[in-house]
Every structure is written in structure tokens, then in C-alpha cells.
Symmetry: C2
Subunit: 497 residues, 2 copies
């Protein structure tokens, strides 16, 4: 390994991110990779609790925006996949040939999904009549049911979501949270009366993304993917990319506007105010455990994880100093403060193990607990708890105002994480000036209004991928990098996971 070692065998994050990441994921006990199937990790309690807290933020946003939670079967019969394949193949051909997809109806051919799914063709000692596959995502399963639920415009919008396990037969190298074969997945699916209503849903999705990313302290790039990287069956895709420390981007979420393409494939219609049957317009919004991968990668340091306070399983760990032959009940005091903090809704752990303080600090640093409170006899005398911020810095906090003080410090920590992440993003995103001088570890932006063939040239020359058009364009026109034509389109390029 190239990278230096920080302490107790933790690889250096900056020198060797590829060694640091898997080390930390296991050392912090997020997952165990020793399960005997590659790419299917065991979620350990600390990792699962973190993921469930991320999910809670999502649940709250779904409730705020009137989505309802459902739960669909894991298995999908093969014939439904065929419907999807036909749709995708037709859209692809229409794009390539520059014709209206509707002109190609009836001329379907086989699509490409078959390569990515796990198949169930046997049960017990029987061959199944109809093979089934494990959902990679639930469009086909859901859109088979939607026509049974939607009759009239009064049933719209239909807004549902689920949090489930999905499966992809990955052939590339697997990495915890980033590229796995069983994926902890969130998917929202909506149906609307028309294209505009569906577009407003996409806008709402992006607002939800902003709220979540604020809590996770993650700056992200939101970009409308180029046509060749649009989700099969979508009119357009807006993807949300997190920026990893090595400058690679990690797609953590995406929203798709389907117009009425899927509705036509699945006969999803409603009766409008004029008693006419219309096809619905649909959207989806997906996220996954990659959010946790981004949190690990973005915020961690050479001592371990740093958990954003909003999703830290323990926001505060209290370490009472344990001195034999002392009259002062530090453990009792620690428990008392913990109860006060818990009553105020904070997640708190008291570590009263009889081991060296240094070992405790190490354990909680690697797990990324944002705030540690040390309590010794002298602290009790002073009426203070001694705070150590995981982002750096120490100070005494008055015990008689401990809830408010801890909330202030946790906010400081979240802000510090946001500042660090934002500053990293600003450093990494550079204007593209010269196709020949592309540096490793950088993301490039440019004004671009060229053709697909221009784009292909750029991708081939630089080895970078088009992330697409940033949802925030330039505020004034600039010359296109290839054609010189003035444009406000801000296009981003990166090496991606």
C-alpha cells in the first residue's frame, strides 16, 4: 500500500482513500464483509442504526409531501420484464433514428435488463411455470397495479414510496454501500394528470434532496443527464452526485420524468373532467444506501468516521473518569446528565467500561460520535462537562445548561462538516480550459452547447464522463467550449463510481 498509516493501523485517507474506505467501514462496525456471498454484506447494529436514521429523515420528508408508504413483492414475473424491455428498446430505437417512439409501437425487440437480474426458476423440487426475477427496481411491479388503483382524475396524483431490498447482478468490483448486489433502496413513484404536474413533482423531489443533503452535510451536484445516460424509459433524468474525497462522483439519487411513456406501455389511464380517458404522466425518485457511502467518504478522517449529528446513532458519548478510591460518583453523574439529554430527544451513550480513557476515545472516534463529554471529579466540582468535538476543539460546558449547550455544539459540528465539504467541492470543481491538461481528482465544468459527437470527443480525450447539465446554469452567457456559441448551459464532467 502506498499510503502512510495514521494511528493503530488506519490507512491515511488522503494518501490512500481506496484502502482507507473499506478499512473504516469494517473497523467502525457498519457492515461485515465476511458473509460468504461477494457484494452482500451483513449490516451490523451500528451501520443499520445509521441507515435507519437516514431512512427516518426520508420518511419525514415523504410524510410532509403527502407520499404514502407501500410494500411490493420482491419477485416479478418474467412477462412483466418483457413489457419493460419492449418499451425501452422502442425508445432507444426512436432516439437513434430520430423518430416519434409511438411510430414504432408493435415493433418491440428485447432490451438489456436481462443481464442484471437474479432469476428464480426453481422452488422446492419444481421448475416454475413462469420464471421470476428479484426486483432491481419496481417500475414493472408497481405499474402493473397502478391501473387497478387509478380510475379518475380524483385518484390523482398517486404518490407512493417504499424502502426495500433490491438486487443487481454486479459484475464489477463490489464496495460496501457504493456497489453492492443487495441494495437497501428507496423508491418513490407518482402518477399525475399531465406533464406539468409531473414536472412539479420533479421540482418537489429536488427540494426534498436539498433538505436531506442539508441534514447529511453533503454538497451535491444536480445535473440533467445527457440523453445517452438517461434512465431507460425516461424522458429525462436528473441525477444527484456526491463528491468523494478522490474527486470521483458518486450518484446517490435520481429523479426521472417518464411523461406518459410507461403509462402507454402499462395502460395506465384516467377519466378526465370531460369524461375522456387520458394517459397518466409519471415520475420516480430513487435513493439508496450509497448515501451512507457518501457520508463515510466525505466526512471521515484519519481517526475514523465523523457522523453528521442528524443521523449519528449516538450524538453524544459521555465518558466518566473512573478512579478507584475516589468518593466522587462520576458514573452516577454521567447517567444523570445522559438522562437529561435523552429526555430532550438527544441520542446519548454512557461508556462506563473500566478501561483506559485512551481506548474509549479511540473506539468512539472511529465510530464518528460527534460530541464526547468527559466527566471527572474536578469537572463535577466545577459544574462543567468537558466537551471534545469530533471535528476538533475542546471546551467546558456548564452542566446546568447542558441540553442547550450540547445542541449549540452539535450545530457547530454540523456547520463545520458542511463547510469542510463545501470547501472540498469548490477545490475539486474547476473550469475546463484545456482538454489535454485534465488532472486526476478534479471535476470540470464548462459552458457547452455542442453536439453528441462533440461530447463523445471530450469524453474520449479526457477520460471523464458527462454528468450533464447542472440544474443551476451560468448566470450569464459564455462561449461554448467546443463551438464558441454563447450559452448559459453549465455542463459538468467527472470520473464516476
Amino acid at each position: 500500500m502506498a499510503g502512510g498509516k495514521a494511528k493503530r493501523g488506519i490507512p491515511s485517507k488522503m494518501d490512500d482513500f481506496n484502502a482507507w474506505y473499506p478499512f473504516i467501514v469494517e473497523a467502525a462496525e457498519l457492515v461485515d464483509k465476511r458473509y460468504p456471498i461477494k457484494g452482500m454484506d451483513v449490516w451490523r447494529p451500528y451501520g443499520w442504526k445509521t441507515m435507519r436514521l437516514i431512512d427516518s429523515l426520508t420518511h419525514a420528508e415523504m410524510e410532509r409531501t403527502d407520499h404514502e408508504e407501500v410494500n411490493f413483492p420482491l419477485l416479478i414475473p418474467e412477462n412483466l420484464l418483457e413489457k419493460e424491455n419492449a418499451l425501452v428498446a422502442r425508445l432507444k430505437r426512436a432516439r437513434e433514428e430520430g423518430v416519434d417512439p409511438d411510430d414504432l409501437r408493435g415493433e418491440e425487440e428485447e432490451g438489456g435488463f436481462m443481464k442484471e437480474v437474479y432469476w428464480v426458476k426453481h422452488a422446492g423440487e419444481n421448475d416454475l411455470d413462469i420464471p421470476m426475477f428479484l426486483r432491481p427496481t419496481s417500475e414493472t411491479a408497481m405499474y402493473t397495479m397502478f391501473p387497478l388503483w387509478v380510475r379518475s382524475h380524483k385518484d390523482l396524483p398517486l404518490k407512493v414510496y417504499q424502502m426495500v431490498n433490491t438486487f443487481r447482478y454486479e459484475t464489477k468490483q463490489t464496495r460496501s454501500f457504493i456497489r453492492v448486489r443487495e441494495i437497501h433502496f428507496f423508491e418513490a413513484h407518482t402518477a399525475h394528470v399531465d406533464e406539468d404536474c409531473a414536472s412539479r413533482q420533479i421540482a418537489q423531489d429536488l427540494e426534498i434532496v436539498d433538505n436531506l443533503m442539508h441534514d447529511l452535510c453533503l454538497p451535491v451536484i444536480k445535473a440533467k443527464r445527457p440523453v445517452w445516460d438517461t434512465f431507460p424509459g425516461a424522458w429525462y433524468t436528473i441525477a444527484i452526485d456526491a463528491i468523494m474525497p478522490n474527486g470521483r462522483t458518486l450518484q446517490v439519487a435520481s429523479c426521472h420524468h417518464y411523461r406518459d411513456q410507461w403509462a402507454k406501455a402499462f395502460d395506465l389511464t384516467y377519466e378526465n373532467l370531460d369524461a375522456q380517458q387520458q394517459h397518466c404522466h409519471q415520475t420516480t425518485y430513487g435513493m439508496s444506501e450509497r448515501l451512507l457511502g457518501a457520508i463515510v467518504g466525505m466526512h471521515g478522517d484519519d481517526n475514523g468516521l465523523i457522523m453528521p449529528p442528524a443521523i449519528a446513532p449516538f450524538q453524544i458519548v459521555i465518558c466518566p473518569m473512573i478512579r478507584k478510591n475516589s468518593d466522587v460518583d462520576t458514573i452516577g453523574k454521567a447517567e444523570e446528565i445522559a438522562n437529561t439529554l435523552k429526555s430532550a430527544g438527544l441520542r446519548v451513550k454512557v461508556d462506563s467500561r473500566d478501561i483506559r480513557a485512551g481506548q474509549k476515545y479511540f473506539d468512539w472516534e472511529i465510530k464518528g460520535v460527534p460530541l464526547r463529554l468527559d466527566i471527572g471529579p474536578r469537572d463535577i466540582e466545577n459544574g462543567t462537562a468537558f466537551a471534545a468535538l469530533r471535528t476538533g476543539g475542546k471546551k467546558p460546558l456548564p452542566m446546568d445548561d447542558i441540553v442547550a449547550q450540547c445542541n449549540i455544539v452539535l450545530n457547530e459540528i454540523a456547520n463545520e462538516l458542511r463547510e469542510r465539504a463545501n470547501s472540498h467541492s469548490s477545490d475539486v470543481i474547476q473550469p475546463l480550459t484545456d482538454l489535454g491538461a485534465v488532472e486526476d481528482g478534479k471535476i470540470y465544468e464548462m459552458a457547452f452547447d455542442g453536439t453528441d459527437s462533440h461530447a463523445e470527443t471530450i469524453e474520449r480525450t479526457t477520460g471523464l464522463s458527462f454528468l450533464g447539465d447542472a440544474t443551476e446554469p451560468y448566470s450569464e452567457e459564455r462561449p461554448c467550449f467546443m463551438s464558441g456559441k454563447p450559452t448559459t448551459r453549465r455542463v459538468l464532467l467527472a470520473k464516476t463510481y
Copy 2:
């Protein structure tokens, strides 16, 4: 159909439970059975929310008893199943031959699990090297990892649980919640230093069962299953059976004491205080969506579901009377009261649809909302809301004390559900006096200290199954039904789902 119809097409529960149950499950929008795979229903928002609320009670009990939540992969490699099969086959032979299972080590043969699982042998276009199956339960997956987590007595007890989808290839007729092919499942797995510690865990499991069943208002039978109905690989099984309206029992949960049998099969050892390697003793505790099946069956009536307040997605629905040309803002008042109740932690829905009151009442009755508050201009004048209890009875509640009043009424409703269910149980459970006079729809109890061959005779003659020895035996000795030998063993017999 034999049964009469109650109102608007709902079959009569008492006359035709087999028609009532599936009708109500769909009419209340718990699940949709029209998904194109038999035995795999779609959970609709109302059903899923109910299930998640049941899960919340379980989560709270798990936290109280220091279990940690994990999440294991769905797929299990075939070779792990072979380990389990070998264990089960060995135990079965040992039982049949009356020898110590340890004497048969190395003489394993194939067990019976193979018949119940879905197989994944293909992914994309490839045949997999090692076939995998969808977990029917997670002993094999977990016990492969436990030896990596347990080194010394300090790592014990290990207490983990998960809530996941599991799969059984059912060949019998499927029924929502009761017999399905994808099962929403809870499983707790523990490892201990010795048999006594594991036994104390079983006692704690049964205490958790009591707490949950209190909230679900379900009386249950807890019985140690006879040897021939013990979970494969278990030393003993205590099963928890709910009593359905037709007198059949429905196993909703079970606890297994494994002693060190699985630990020996999976090499799960720890170093004890004397620095010696010992095998762990293990237990499991499982529950499933059958809990919801029992709630539907036990509490519902000819107007629909009745949700126990602890798990009702809406505990209270408020129906403002909507009068055109009235100055009184009933909807505003309803919203105001709803907000007061929500702030107090109650789950409340305001139904301000502009439809006939009768239609609203029908909708919420079928969904089993425990408490309805009607608010009209006169109620506002009187400072009251008019309460209609789903269990029967109406009364005005003073608005200025609405939180306390609603809590009192919700408690009354829960108590009423408990009383009804208890009274049903007492009616259904009868002493067995005559093998030839067994009635349909009854559960029988008897003092029994006979042999397996006695039991077989009884099962064959009556058509009933042994539930096993009730965990609450007779307080004094009685003559065994077969041998006349005095015993306190109270054995239960029933037709089972």
C-alpha cells in the same frame, strides 16, 4: 356462499368467516391480492402502516431488552443449508433411535428443508457456481457469522434481531397474512454462555409476548410443542397461538431453545473464565405478519375491522358536519381539535370530504378506526365533540379536555376488545371429556401424561392437533385423560391454520 350478507356486501363474520376474512382484508385496503403471483400480496398504505406500528411495538420491546437490530443478506448459499440439513437429520434420527445426537456426528443425511425454498441458480445470462436460496428464516446465515463475533464470555450474551422479508414455497392454499409466500418476518437470535442463560432468554421472550399481546388485545395460548412438532434443530419449542373466530388456532410466534446443538454444527464457541473453549447455547424468537391476521380475525365485525388503539394508523377520525350556507366553521374547528390531539401524540385524521356523512362513517368503520368524533354547529355551541366508539356506544366529550377524554375512551375501547376476545377464548376452550364428541369450532384441554402413541390415537380419533403443554399447567393434579395417572400437565388440542 352459506353466510348471510351484512351491509353493502360484507359477508357475515359469524356465518361465513372464510368469506368475511378475505373480503375485509381487501375492502379495508390492507393489501391488494391482484398482484400476478399467488401468495404475494401488495401491501397498501393502510395495511403497511398498521404492520409498521406493530413493528414499532416490537422495536420498543427489543430496545428495552437490549437486543440490537441487524440486517442479513436475503440470499444463502446452498452449502450452508446442507450444514443445517445434516444437523436436523441427525437430531431426528437420534430422537427416533433414542440415542445421544453427538453419537451420530459424521453420519449426516439430507434433511427436508429443500422442499420449501425458492432457488436462485441463474443471474443475468450465467449459471451460478453455487446455487443460493431465499431465506425461509436466518439461522444458517446468522450462525455462519456469529463465530466471527464471539470470542470470549465478554461477548455474551449476543442478542440481535431483524425485520425482513422471508420466503416459503407454500403449496397449500394461500391467505393474506396467514399463509403467504413472501412473509414480513421478525426474528431474534441470541447466544449465551450456558443452558440456564438461554432458558432465561426464553422466559424474557414470553414476557415480551405478554406485553405485545396486551397492546394487540389478543389472548393467546402459549404451549410447549410436542416433540414431533418441535422446530427442527431445537431442544424445545414454545409456540404462541392466537384463537380465530372459527375456533382454529393460528401460530403467531414461537421461541426455540437450541441448547448447544446449532453451536456444535456451526463451531460457535467462546473462551470461558477458565480460558477453556465452550459451545454457546442459543435461542430464537420469531413472529410475523400473522399477528395482523389474528387482529383482523379476532377483533373485526360485520361492519369491518376494529383496530386496537395501540396500532391503529388513525386512532381518531374527526368528521366535521359540512352544511352549506352555515356561518359555523366546522372544518376549522375539526382541524383545531386534530392539532391539539396530534400534539399530544395521538394519530388523527380529519375527513372533510364533501360527501354524505353515512359514506364517511362506512369508510372509517370498515377500516376499523377506534374512535370517531363528529363535529357539527350544535356540538360547537355546546363545547363538545360527539364521540362514536367503533366497539359501540356514543357520547359527547367536552372539547376543553379533549386529549384526556379521548385517551380515556381509547382505553375503554382497548379494554372492551380484550374482554370480547377473552370471553371468546373462554367459550371456545372446553375440557375434553369424550373423544367421540368433539365439536367443530372448539379447542380442547385435558390433563395428559400419556405416551406419543396415546397422543397419536387422540389426534387420529378427534382430527385435532396437539398444541402441546400449556405454559400454565393445572394448579393441582388431575388424572391423565388416557392413563388416569395424576398430573398437572395441561395439554391443548385444536384445529390449526
